[in-house]
Symmetry: C2
Subunit: 114 residues, 2 copies
Protein backbone atom coordinates (compact mmCIF):
# COMPACT_ATOMS: atom_id res chain seq x y z
CA UNK A 1 0.00 0.00 0.00
CA UNK A 2 1.35 3.41 -0.94
CA UNK A 3 1.07 6.07 1.70
CA UNK A 4 0.77 9.61 0.51
CA UNK A 5 2.84 11.78 2.78
CA UNK A 6 2.26 15.48 2.99
CA UNK A 7 5.49 16.57 1.42
CA UNK A 8 5.27 14.26 -1.60
CA UNK A 9 7.92 11.70 -0.78
CA UNK A 10 8.83 9.60 -3.80
CA UNK A 11 7.79 6.00 -3.38
CA UNK A 12 8.60 2.92 -5.26
CA UNK A 13 6.23 1.48 -7.74
CA UNK A 14 4.64 -1.71 -6.40
CA UNK A 15 5.06 -3.49 -9.75
CA UNK A 16 8.74 -2.59 -9.98
CA UNK A 17 9.11 -3.81 -6.46
CA UNK A 18 7.61 -7.21 -7.41
CA UNK A 19 9.90 -7.40 -10.44
CA UNK A 20 12.96 -6.85 -8.26
CA UNK A 21 11.79 -9.36 -5.68
CA UNK A 22 12.83 -11.79 -8.41
CA UNK A 23 15.45 -9.97 -10.44
CA UNK A 24 17.14 -8.36 -7.45
CA UNK A 25 18.37 -11.78 -6.37
CA UNK A 26 21.71 -12.73 -7.80
CA UNK A 27 21.54 -15.11 -10.81
CA UNK A 28 17.80 -14.97 -11.44
CA UNK A 29 17.99 -12.42 -14.25
CA UNK A 30 20.88 -14.21 -15.88
CA UNK A 31 19.22 -17.63 -15.65
CA UNK A 32 16.18 -16.19 -17.43
CA UNK A 33 18.51 -14.52 -19.94
CA UNK A 34 20.26 -17.79 -20.75
CA UNK A 35 16.91 -19.57 -21.17
CA UNK A 36 15.74 -16.79 -23.50
CA UNK A 37 17.99 -18.40 -26.11
CA UNK A 38 16.07 -21.68 -25.81
CA UNK A 39 15.66 -24.49 -23.30
CA UNK A 40 18.70 -25.91 -21.55
CA UNK A 41 19.67 -28.74 -19.25
CA UNK A 42 21.26 -28.21 -15.86
CA UNK A 43 24.86 -28.67 -17.01
CA UNK A 44 24.43 -26.32 -19.98
CA UNK A 45 22.84 -23.70 -17.76
CA UNK A 46 25.64 -23.99 -15.28
CA UNK A 47 28.21 -23.60 -18.05
CA UNK A 48 26.31 -20.69 -19.60
CA UNK A 49 26.32 -18.81 -16.29
CA UNK A 50 30.03 -19.20 -15.75
CA UNK A 51 32.06 -20.79 -13.07
CA UNK A 52 30.96 -18.87 -10.02
CA UNK A 53 27.54 -20.39 -9.38
CA UNK A 54 27.47 -23.58 -7.31
CA UNK A 55 25.22 -26.48 -8.27
CA UNK A 56 23.18 -26.14 -5.10
CA UNK A 57 22.65 -22.42 -5.68
CA UNK A 58 21.60 -23.02 -9.30
CA UNK A 59 19.29 -25.80 -8.22
CA UNK A 60 17.66 -23.58 -5.59
CA UNK A 61 17.18 -20.72 -8.03
CA UNK A 62 15.62 -23.02 -10.65
CA UNK A 63 13.17 -24.32 -8.06
CA UNK A 64 12.16 -20.78 -7.07
CA UNK A 65 11.76 -19.61 -10.66
CA UNK A 66 9.60 -22.64 -11.40
CA UNK A 67 7.46 -21.96 -8.31
CA UNK A 68 6.96 -18.40 -9.54
CA UNK A 69 5.75 -19.76 -12.87
CA UNK A 70 8.58 -18.29 -14.94
CA UNK A 71 10.31 -21.49 -15.98
CA UNK A 72 9.23 -25.08 -16.49
CA UNK A 73 11.10 -28.27 -15.71
CA UNK A 74 10.49 -30.92 -18.34
CA UNK A 75 11.55 -34.46 -17.65
CA UNK A 76 11.95 -36.93 -20.51
CA UNK A 77 11.70 -40.46 -19.14
CA UNK A 78 14.63 -41.86 -21.15
CA UNK A 79 16.66 -43.88 -20.43
CA UNK A 80 18.68 -41.92 -19.77
CA UNK A 81 16.31 -39.56 -17.98
CA UNK A 82 16.88 -36.01 -19.16
CA UNK A 83 15.72 -32.77 -17.60
CA UNK A 84 15.31 -29.59 -19.52
CA UNK A 85 14.37 -26.11 -18.34
CA UNK A 86 12.39 -23.74 -20.56
CA UNK A 87 10.70 -20.38 -20.12
CA UNK A 88 6.94 -20.35 -19.60
CA UNK A 89 4.82 -17.73 -21.40
CA UNK A 90 5.29 -15.40 -18.39
CA UNK A 91 9.06 -15.94 -18.57
CA UNK A 92 9.10 -15.30 -22.31
CA UNK A 93 7.19 -12.07 -21.79
CA UNK A 94 10.21 -10.78 -19.88
CA UNK A 95 12.58 -11.11 -22.86
CA UNK A 96 11.94 -7.61 -24.31
CA UNK A 97 12.70 -6.02 -20.93
CA UNK A 98 15.89 -8.11 -20.61
CA UNK A 99 16.89 -6.94 -24.08
CA UNK A 100 16.37 -3.31 -23.04
CA UNK A 101 18.55 -3.88 -19.98
CA UNK A 102 21.29 -5.41 -22.12
CA UNK A 103 21.09 -2.51 -24.61
CA UNK A 104 21.37 -0.05 -21.75
CA UNK A 105 24.37 -1.84 -20.27
CA UNK A 106 26.08 -1.91 -23.66
CA UNK A 107 25.71 1.85 -23.99
CA UNK A 108 26.13 3.01 -20.42
CA UNK A 109 28.25 0.62 -18.42
CA UNK A 110 31.92 0.05 -18.83
CA UNK A 111 32.88 -3.48 -19.74
CA UNK A 112 33.71 -5.62 -16.69
CA UNK A 113 36.23 -3.81 -14.59
CA UNK A 114 38.70 -6.25 -13.14
CA UNK B 1 35.15 -13.82 -22.80
CA UNK B 2 32.62 -16.20 -24.31
CA UNK B 3 33.88 -19.67 -25.07
CA UNK B 4 32.22 -21.48 -27.92
CA UNK B 5 31.71 -25.08 -26.91
CA UNK B 6 31.19 -27.75 -29.48
CA UNK B 7 27.63 -28.61 -28.59
CA UNK B 8 26.33 -25.05 -28.59
CA UNK B 9 25.80 -24.43 -24.91
CA UNK B 10 23.69 -21.35 -24.26
CA UNK B 11 25.70 -18.61 -22.65
CA UNK B 12 24.78 -15.42 -21.02
CA UNK B 13 25.05 -12.17 -22.80
CA UNK B 14 27.96 -10.12 -21.43
CA UNK B 15 25.90 -6.92 -21.45
CA UNK B 16 23.04 -8.54 -19.55
CA UNK B 17 25.59 -9.85 -17.13
CA UNK B 18 26.93 -6.31 -16.51
CA UNK B 19 23.39 -5.03 -16.04
CA UNK B 20 22.69 -7.65 -13.36
CA UNK B 21 25.99 -6.98 -11.63
CA UNK B 22 24.14 -3.85 -10.55
CA UNK B 23 20.46 -4.77 -10.66
CA UNK B 24 20.93 -8.25 -9.25
CA UNK B 25 21.88 -6.72 -5.90
CA UNK B 26 18.96 -6.14 -3.61
CA UNK B 27 17.69 -2.50 -3.53
CA UNK B 28 19.70 -1.13 -6.45
CA UNK B 29 16.88 -1.39 -8.99
CA UNK B 30 14.37 0.08 -6.58
CA UNK B 31 16.63 2.96 -5.59
CA UNK B 32 17.00 3.85 -9.27
CA UNK B 33 13.24 3.43 -9.69
CA UNK B 34 12.48 5.85 -6.85
CA UNK B 35 14.94 8.40 -8.26
CA UNK B 36 13.29 8.07 -11.68
CA UNK B 37 10.48 10.19 -10.22
CA UNK B 38 12.92 12.99 -9.43
CA UNK B 39 15.74 13.69 -7.03
CA UNK B 40 15.36 12.80 -3.37
CA UNK B 41 17.13 13.25 -0.06
CA UNK B 42 18.26 10.34 2.08
CA UNK B 43 15.23 10.32 4.37
CA UNK B 44 12.77 10.48 1.48
CA UNK B 45 14.58 7.67 -0.30
CA UNK B 46 14.53 5.57 2.81
CA UNK B 47 10.80 6.19 3.23
CA UNK B 48 10.13 5.52 -0.46
CA UNK B 49 11.84 2.13 -0.25
CA UNK B 50 9.87 1.00 2.77
CA UNK B 51 10.85 -0.02 6.22
CA UNK B 52 13.11 -2.96 5.55
CA UNK B 53 16.27 -1.19 4.35
CA UNK B 54 18.68 -0.05 7.04
CA UNK B 55 20.35 3.34 6.84
CA UNK B 56 23.80 1.79 6.54
CA UNK B 57 22.64 -0.47 3.68
CA UNK B 58 21.03 2.45 1.86
CA UNK B 59 24.12 4.55 2.37
CA UNK B 60 26.35 1.80 0.98
CA UNK B 61 24.15 1.29 -2.05
CA UNK B 62 24.06 5.03 -2.81
CA UNK B 63 27.85 5.15 -2.67
CA UNK B 64 28.15 2.22 -5.08
CA UNK B 65 25.59 3.62 -7.52
CA UNK B 66 27.42 6.96 -7.49
CA UNK B 67 30.76 5.22 -8.13
CA UNK B 68 29.19 3.47 -11.10
CA UNK B 69 28.10 6.84 -12.48
CA UNK B 70 24.37 6.16 -12.24
CA UNK B 71 23.46 8.65 -9.55
CA UNK B 72 24.88 11.94 -8.36
CA UNK B 73 25.11 13.29 -4.82
CA UNK B 74 24.49 17.02 -4.73
CA UNK B 75 25.30 18.95 -1.59
CA UNK B 76 23.79 22.37 -0.99
CA UNK B 77 25.94 24.25 1.54
CA UNK B 78 23.01 25.63 3.55
CA UNK B 79 22.75 26.10 6.46
CA UNK B 80 21.29 23.65 6.93
CA UNK B 81 23.40 21.53 4.62
CA UNK B 82 21.17 19.43 2.38
CA UNK B 83 22.07 16.43 0.28
CA UNK B 84 20.08 15.32 -2.69
CA UNK B 85 20.50 12.30 -4.94
CA UNK B 86 19.58 12.45 -8.62
CA UNK B 87 20.01 10.19 -11.63
CA UNK B 88 22.85 10.96 -14.01
CA UNK B 89 22.23 10.71 -17.78
CA UNK B 90 23.31 7.03 -17.63
CA UNK B 91 20.85 6.44 -14.79
CA UNK B 92 18.06 8.19 -16.66
CA UNK B 93 18.73 6.05 -19.71
CA UNK B 94 17.68 3.05 -17.62
CA UNK B 95 14.15 4.38 -17.01
CA UNK B 96 12.54 2.84 -20.13
CA UNK B 97 13.89 -0.60 -19.19
CA UNK B 98 12.63 -0.16 -15.61
CA UNK B 99 9.22 0.75 -17.03
CA UNK B 100 9.22 -2.43 -19.15
CA UNK B 101 10.04 -4.47 -16.06
CA UNK B 102 7.20 -2.85 -14.12
CA UNK B 103 4.77 -3.47 -17.00
CA UNK B 104 5.83 -7.09 -17.13
CA UNK B 105 5.39 -7.53 -13.39
CA UNK B 106 1.95 -5.95 -13.54
CA UNK B 107 0.86 -8.44 -16.19
CA UNK B 108 2.70 -11.56 -15.14
CA UNK B 109 3.38 -11.61 -11.44
CA UNK B 110 0.84 -12.02 -8.73
CA UNK B 111 0.62 -9.13 -6.31
CA UNK B 112 2.81 -9.62 -3.23
CA UNK B 113 2.05 -12.94 -1.69
CA UNK B 114 2.13 -12.71 2.07
Amino acid sequence: MIEQTEHHAPSCDAALSSAFTILGKRWNGLILGVLADGGAGFADLSRGLGSSISDSMLSGRLTELAEMGLIERQVSPGPPVSVRYTLTAAGQALIPALNSLADWARLHLEPNRG
